[in-house]
Symmetry: D2
C-alpha cells in the first residue's frame, strides 16, 4: 500500500455486533465490508432481523455462533454486556425509526455505537442520544460516509489552511433518479421504507440524501448554518415524503449557499457534488469521481489534485490505501469511518483520548443533520420561508 | 458544410448600422463577426462611440464611409431613415442604460433592431419597447445568444416533443469568476460599467448573466415563471451591485427550480449550465461544451447527443455549419441569432410572416428578462421573500 | 473581443478567387466562411465547378459577378491576372488530384495560393510546387487547419520554451467512424472521391486525416521524422484505399511515437488528439475540446490551460477572439490560417517579409505531408517495414 | 449490496498462506485486502520476507501464529502440506524472479496457487508451471487484476455477444509517469527491482504494465495474437530496462492494433485504457474511471453503460457490490479475482468443476503474457521487426 500506511491490526480486532442488516437489506452488507476492510473488527454477534427466522438464517450465512444470534436488540445488549468476550461496539443498520432505541440500549449497556444516518427521526431523540453519549463517555460514530473519502478530507484541510481565503459560496447537491417512478408501489423494499414517514421520519429525500450533502458542506467548510429557506416537493403522485428539495442557505459569518437533493433527477445515480468558492480559490468534488479534487486559485490555471498524487496532503494520505491512479471508491471511504472509529474505540478502551487526527462523524454531527431536516421540513410546510437553525 | 445547409446570401445582404462597439468595447466586435459569419449583413453605418474622436477612428478601422459615421444615434436614425440606401437594421451594443433610447429612436425611424441584453434597465422601458414594436410591426431581436446554440435548440425540441415527459425540475446556473476581486477599482472598463447601477440598472450579476440563465431555462422548457425567492449578495466590499445570486424558482404548472448566477465563483469562466428533469427523462447542457447534449431516458443508459451527430434533429440541423466532431462555439451560436433575424427582416421587407421555424429572442423575451431581474431584486431587498412575477 | 485583438481590416480586404467549392461540396463553404470571419478577404471570382451549369448556379448563389464566374481554372488564372482588380489570392478546394494543376497555374499567373490538404497526390508534384513557390516568391498556404487552433499554438510555444524538457514520446491520432460501412457505394459524394485512388492519391485515411495528425505532431514538437513503420488496412470489403492506419514513428534526435488514423473507429466523430511527453512535462490536446490544453509538470498536479485563460500566452492570444469560457471552434481555427495568410499576402504586396509571429502551414509543410503519405504507403506495401523519410 | 449479491461465506473461509508481502512491500497488502474483502479467505501462514527478522515482525503485525511464520517458502510448503489445518492456497507476491520457484514448490505440495504477474521471468519457466498445473489439477490464478473490474467483464460479454460485430481494431495502452526520472537511483525499492533485469526479467515497462494491457485486450476481445512489431526504449539514461513501448499488433483473423506502455508519460498515473472497434460498434474503457463503459453502436448516440446501471448485464452484476453511482475501484476489482479463485478452490476441494461463469486469469494466461513479453523484447532487439507469437 502507499507509503506510511500499514494494514496491520492496531491492537487486536474489535468485537462487533450488528442490529439489522439481515437477508434482503442493503446497507448492512456495506457496513460489514467496511468493518472488515482494514481488519480492525470481527463480527461476532447480531440481531440481524426483527423476523426471527430471517435473523437465524442470516446469522448462519455470516458464520455467527448460534448463541450470539439474538431475537432482539434488547436481548443482545443485555447478553453481550455480560459476557467477558462481549461485543465492544455495535453497528446499527436498521431503518431510521429504529436507530435511537437500540442506540440508547447499547449505550446504556456500555457498548460503543456506530449508527447509520440520519441519526434518528426527530431532533428530540437526537438530543437524548447526545446527552447519553456525553454521560457515558462512549464512542459514537454516525456513518456520514462521504467524509471518509480522502479527497473530501483534502478539501477540508485546504479550506482550513486558508487556500480558498474567506468562504463565500457553498453549493451542495445530491441527485439520484431511482424514485422517478412510484417504486414504493412495487416490491422494492428500499423504496417502501424510505418513502414511509413512519420509518423514515418527516423527511424523504431531505433525510435520505439531503443530510449527506449538508454534512459534506459542513465538514469541508467548517461553517455553521444560520438559516435556510426550503422548498420540498413530492413530484410522484401519492408519495408521502419529498422527492426533490430546493434550499437556500445562509451560513453564519456571511457565506451563502444552495442545496439540491433529488431522487427524481433522471440520469443521476449518486450525484453528490460539493462546490466551495472563497475570496482566493475554489474547490469542486464529485462523489462519482471521488479520487479527483478540482482546485482553482484565482488567476491561475485549474488544477486537478488526485488521491495519493502530487498536491494531496497528509489528511488525505492517512485514509489512502493504493497509489494514485488506482481508484478507490465508496467502500473504501465507508471503511475509513470504521477504521477511524476503531482508533477512538481503542483509545477509549485504554482510557486515552484519541489522536486529534482521528476524524469521524460524531453524535453531534448526527444531531446537526436532524436539526437541518427539521428546519427544512418546517420551512417548506410554511410555504418556503426562512427558518433559523 | 453539412447537408441541407448553404452559405448563400438569401436575398441580398441586409444593410446594418451599429450603435456603440467602438475601440475598447467587447461585445460590438462579437456582433459584427456574428453578422458577417453567414454573409447576411453588410455593416455600412455607425454611431460607434459617444466620444467623437473614438467614433471616427473606429469607423475608419471598420471601413465605414466617413459620411455614415455619426456623432450620435439620433443623428444616425434620422439620416439613415432618409437615405434610399439607408440601413435596414441597427445593432445596439452599448451598456444597458443606453439600450432603450436608441432602440426607440430607430423603431420610430422605421428601422429593425437587434439589441444586446438585458433589454433595458427597467421593466417600464421594456414595456414601452414592446408596445412600440407592436405598433410598428418591425423586427426586434434581443441577443440572448445562448438560444442560438444548436444543442440548445435540440433540447427545446426534445422537451416540446415530450421526450422528458412532464417537466418537474429545472436547474439553471451561470458561474464566472472575473469579479472575484474588485476589478472595478482598476482600469477594467467592462468591470466598471457592469458594477455601476447607473449604467447596468438595479441588477449586477443577475442582469448580466442571471438573465441569460433564466432565458435559457424558459427557452428550453417553454415554461413560464410563477414566482421566485432570491438571495442576492455583493461579496466584494464596496461593490454596488450583486455578484452572487441564489434563487428558488416556482414555475407555472408545478415545476420547481433553482438558479445560480455568480461572478465570484473561482475556477469558472463562462459556466452556463441547464439541467432539466421530467417524469420520463433528463437533459444536461453546458455552454463550455456546447456541442454536446446529455440525454437520459429513465431506465436506459445515458446518451450523448452531438451537434450534427446521430440523434440531432432538424431544429439543431438548421443552425449547424460543420460536421459532427468539429466543434462550433460561441460565435457560431451568436451568428445564428443574426441569421435568424435576417430571415425575419427579409420576410418583413417582403410583407410576409417569417417561416415559423425562424427562432430568435424577441422583445417580449427581453421584457420577460427585465421582469425577472426586477422581481429578483425586489425579493432580495425584502429579505429573500417570495415574489410573484 | 479580447484585449489587444481588433477586427479591423488591416490594409483593405484581399480579393479572393476560388477553384472548386460549388453546390454539393463541403470544404468550399468552410473556406469561404474562414476567409470572411475576420473580414480580411472578399470573394470576387470563382471556377466553382467543373460542371458549367453548377458553376454558374453556385456563382449566382454566392453573389459573384457573372463575368468572374469561370468555366475553368485555366481561364480564371489568365483573366484574373490581367484585370487591374484581379484576384490577389486563390483558394483551391477541389479533390486532391486537382490541387497541383490549378496551384501551378495560379502561381505562374503571379497569384498567391491557399490550397487544401493533402497538398497533391504525389511527392513529385509537391516538389514541383515547392520549387515554383521558391521561384515566384509568392505566398502559399496549405490548410492544415488544426495548427490554427489557439491551444495548439500554445502547445507549440510551450514545447519551444522547454516546458516539457527534451521530448521523448509523441502520440498522435485521428479517429473517425463515417466510413465504417461502405458509404462509397451509396450517394455519398465525399465517401466516393475520398476512397478513390484516382482522386485521392495512394492514401485513403492516411492522406485524408493521417496527414493532419502528422502535421499537428510536427507543428507542436518541432521534430522531424526519421523513419516509420506503417500497417495500413482497408477493413471494408472492396474498399480501394486504407481506412485504418497503425504506425510506429522514430523522430530525429531519438524521440519515439505512434500515429493512429482511422475512419472505421465506431464512436469517434473527429477525434484528433496529440499527446507529447518530455523529460519534464507532458501535454494533451483534443480537437473535439479545442479550448483546453492539459499540461503536467512532473511531480505537480495536472493543470488545465484554457484559451484566453490564465496560463495562455501571446502565441495563443493573437489568434483568439472571445474571452475564456466562450468556446471557439473549428471555423475559428480555420479562419486563423486565412487571417495569418492575409498578413503574409499584404507583406508580400508591400515587398516586405511578414512579421515572424505570422504562422501558417507552408508549401514545405505540404510536401512533408506528401512524403509522410508516400513513406507510409510504401512501408505498408512491403509488409510494414521501416522506411526512412 | 446489490440484488442477487450476498457477502455470505460460501462454504467456509479458505486457509491462505503468503510468500512475500512483508514490511515495505506494496502488492502484498493489496492481496491481503483483496482476500479479505469478501470474507472468503483467512490468512494463517506466511513466509513474508527473505529477511528472517522482517519476516517475524511482519507476521506479528498481521497476527499470524508464530509457528506458522516461516523462514522460507520451501519450509512453509513442507510444513503446511503436512498439517491437518494446513493452508489450502498460497498467494505469491514477490518480485518476478521469485514467482516460479515457490509456485512449483506449492504445486508439488498439493497447494493451490494465486500468483502475481508477470507469471515468471521466462517463457520456459512459464511452460513448466503450465505443465505442473495440468499434472496436479490444482487451481492456479494469476492476478491480472484488471479482468476483475465489472465493466471489463461487461465489455467482454458485449464483444462475445456480437454487439461490436467483427472486431477490427484493438488499441490498448497503459501510461504511467513514475519512472520519468531515475527513481532507481534513489531509495525507491519499487523502482529498484522493477528496473533490474535480475529481478524483473528481460522486460521493464513491457513486463510490468504492458502485459496488463495485453491481457486486457485478449480478455475483452477473445482474440489471439498472431504477430507484433515492438519498439522498446529506455529513455532515462543508464536505465537497464525499457520504460516506453510502442507496439504494432496483428491479431489472428485479421484485426489490427497498437499497444503503448510507458512509465515516462508525464501526467499519467495508472492510465490503462482499452478501445475496441468492430464492424457494428465500439467500446472504450479506462482504468481510472472503471465504473464507466462507453459504447457506441454505429449510427446511434454514444452510450454510457455504468456498473450496476441500466445496460449492465449479469457478467458485470456478479462481480458488483454496491449500487450504480457509488464507485468501486482497484481493490474491489482485485478482490473479484480472489473471490472467483475461491469458488474454483472450493469446487476443486469438492472434486467438482467450477461453474463456467467463474472467471479468473489462469496459468495459461500467465504463459501468454510471458510469450508476449519475450516476443516484444526479441522484436525490439532486432530493430523492431515483426515477430510471430
Amino acid at each position: 500500500m502507499v507509503e506510511g500506511r500499514s494494514d496491520k491490526v492496531e491492537g487486536g480486532r474489535i468485537r462487533l455486533g450488528m442490529v439489522g442488516g439481515g437477508q434482503g437489506a442493503f446497507i448492512g452488507a456495506v457496513h460489514r465490508l467496511a468493518a472488515r476492510m482494514d481488519d480492525q473488527y470481527e463480527l461476532v454477534a447480531g440481531a440481524l432481523s426483527s423476523n426471527p427466522k430471517r435473523a437465524r438464517a442470516s446469522a448462519k450465512e455470516l458464520g455467527l455462533a448460534p448463541d450470539r444470534s439474538y431475537g432482539s436488540y434488547e436481548e443482545m445488549a443485555k447478553a453481550e454486556s455480560q459476557r467477558p468476550d462481549g461485543i465492544e461496539a455495535v453497528a446499527i443498520v436498521t431503518p431510521n425509526h429504529m436507530h435511537a432505541p437500540p442506540a440508547k440500549a447499547f449505550l446504556k449497556a456500555g457498548i460503543n455505537v456506530i449508527c447509520d444516518k440520519p441519526l434518528t427521526t426527530t431532533v428530540k431523540e437526537a438530543k437524548e442520544l447526545v446527552a447519553l453519549v456525553k454521560k457515558t463517555g462512549l464512542v459514537f460514530a454516525v456513518t456520514h460516509n462521504y467524509t471518509g473519502y480522502p479527497m473530501v478530507r483534502q478539501a477540508r484541510a485546504m479550506v482550513a489552511a486558508g487556500k480558498l481565503g474567506e468562504v463565500r459560496v457553498v453549493q451542495a447537491e445530491y441527485a439520484q433518479d431511482w424514485l422517478t417512478e412510484k417504486a414504493e408501489a412495487t416490491a422494492n423494499k428500499q423504496a417502501k421504507w424510505r418513502t414511509d414517514p413512519k420509518q423514515s421520519g418527516a423527511g424523504g429525500s431531505i433525510g435520505d440524501i439531503g443530510t449527506h450533502a449538508y454534512n459534506l458542506a459542513c465538514f469541508v467548510t467548517g461553517l455553521k448554518l444560520d438559516s435556510l429557506c426550503a422548498d420540498l416537493t413530492a413530484f410522484v403522485k401519492g408519495r408521502k415524503l419529498d422527492d426533490n428539495d430546493n434550499i437556500l442557505l445562509r451560513w453564519k459569518g456571511g457565506a451563502k449557499g444552495m442545496l439540491w437533493a433529488s431522487q427524481v433527477a433522471v440520469g443521476h445515480e449518486n450525484g453528490a457534488m460539493l462546490r466551495v468558492y472563497g475570496s482566493k480559490g475554489g474547490l469542486v468534488w464529485r462523489q462519482e469521481e471521488p479520487n479527483h479534487l478540482w482546485f482553482s486559485e484565482f488567476g491561475k490555471p485549474l488544477q486537478l489534485i488526485t488521491r495519493a498524487g502530487a498536491g494531496a496532503g497528509p489528511e488525505a494520505g492517512r485514509v489512502t490505501r493504493v497509489p494514485a491512479g488506482h481508484p478507490e471508491g465508496y467502500l473504501e471511504g465507508f471503511a475509513n469511518i470504521y477504521t477511524e472509529a476503531a482508533r477512538a474505540i481503542r483509545a477509549h478502551r485504554d482510557g486515552k483520548k484519541p489522536d486529534p487526527s482521528v476524524i469521524f462523524p460524531s453524535v453531534e454531527d448526527g444531531l446537526s443533520g436532524m436539526q437541518f431536516i427539521e428546519a427544512a421540513v418546517k420551512s417548506s410546510q410554511k410555504g418556503a420561508v426562512w427558518v433559523k437553525l
